[in-house]
Amino acid sequence: MNKKRDRLQIIHDILLAIREKGSQVKPTHILYKSNLSHQMLMEYLQELIAKGFIIEEGDKKGKKVYSLTDKGYDYLRDYTVIKGFVDSYGLG
């Protein structure tokens, strides 16, 4: 990838990784798909939980897994329009 990804795109990639895998996605899978460092991914996941895009749960073994909320699905659906608007006004 030549061009540096912006925050909007990183969030998009994380949410897409969760959606493609279905519900209850492990952080290792998101890490592999999103191409971020572990620390960066954890920061983004906390932000996405705070914004209500994903929820954190425990699987049968008690390990952390993540699922999209309706708001997360909305973000993926409206991503092109959100990016167009935010880029137009330099709001990101």
């Binding site: 895009f53 973000y75 659906r77 935010v86 880029d87 137009s88 006004y89 330099g90």
Partner: protein
């Protein structure tokens, strides 16, 4: 306090129509920004929507008051009563218009700083309002503050275009440059009343560009 802005007689009515158009475009952008905020949860987008909502309210008030002035001009009463009511309406309308416009632009300017410093936010608003309402020449101070704010806002949008060379960013940079030129024209309205329609027409072109950008953003 008596505020006057000189509009040529032939422009009566057209100014009201233009101000309604600016209000509608600003409202569309504000509502769209709130919709984008709902999906993205980006705080700056929320503030941006709020700023356009306040700008829209300022235009709505200006257009209503200008419409009422035109109605008063056509009333069949004595010239003295007519003049008094027009001066009162004009002063009241202009004060409310200035209040909402200054707060709206202060918020828009704040969003371009990309900071979460609340003290800076309140400082911008308080200083702007104090300057405006303690001044003996509020209309000129108002257009001066608006022009300074628009200068910095335009600077942000030009920088945004240079970083992100797309038609959409170019439209917004040009729109805000036109708004800047339009407002600097208003500073000179006391010298020549032709500056008033010129300012409005420049603003019209600016809002057409903003609307064009809105169309491009929505087009998938």
């Amino acid at each position: 306090m008596v505020y006057t802005h000189l509009s040529p007689a032939w422009f009566f009515g057209y100014d009201v129509l233009l101000e309604i158009s600016f209000a509608v475009v600003s409202l569309i952008i504000a509502l769209f920004a709130f919709k984008i905020y709902k999906s993205s949860a980006i705080k700056q987008v929320h503030l941006f929507g709020l700023s356009f909502l306040l700008i829209s309210i300022s235009y709505i008030i200006q257009s209503i008051l200008n419409f009422m002035i035109i109605s008063k001009l056509n009333e069949n009463v004595s010239k003295m009563i007519k003049l008094q009511s027009i001066v009162h309406l004009n002063t009241l309308g202009f004060l409310i218009h200035m209040f909402f416009m200054i707060i709206g632009l202060s918020i828009l300017l704040y969003t371009t700083f990309k900071t979460e410093n609340r003290k800076l936010f309140w400082l911008l608003i308080v200083v702007s309002l104090l300057l405006l309402f303690l001044s003996r020449d509020a209309p000129n101070i108002f257009y001066l503050i608006v022009s300074v704010y628009l200068f910095f806002i335009s600077f942000h949008f030009i920088g945004n275009y240079r970083r992100n060379r797309q038609p959409k960013t170019l439209l917004i940079a040009l729109a805000f440059l036109l708004l800047l030129f339009g407002n600097t024209h208003f500073i000179f309205i006391l010298n020549h009343n032709l500056f008033y329609p010129i300012g409005h027409i420049l603003e019209l072109f600016a809002y057409i560009l903003i609307l064009w950008n809105f169309y491009l953003v929505r087009k998938k």
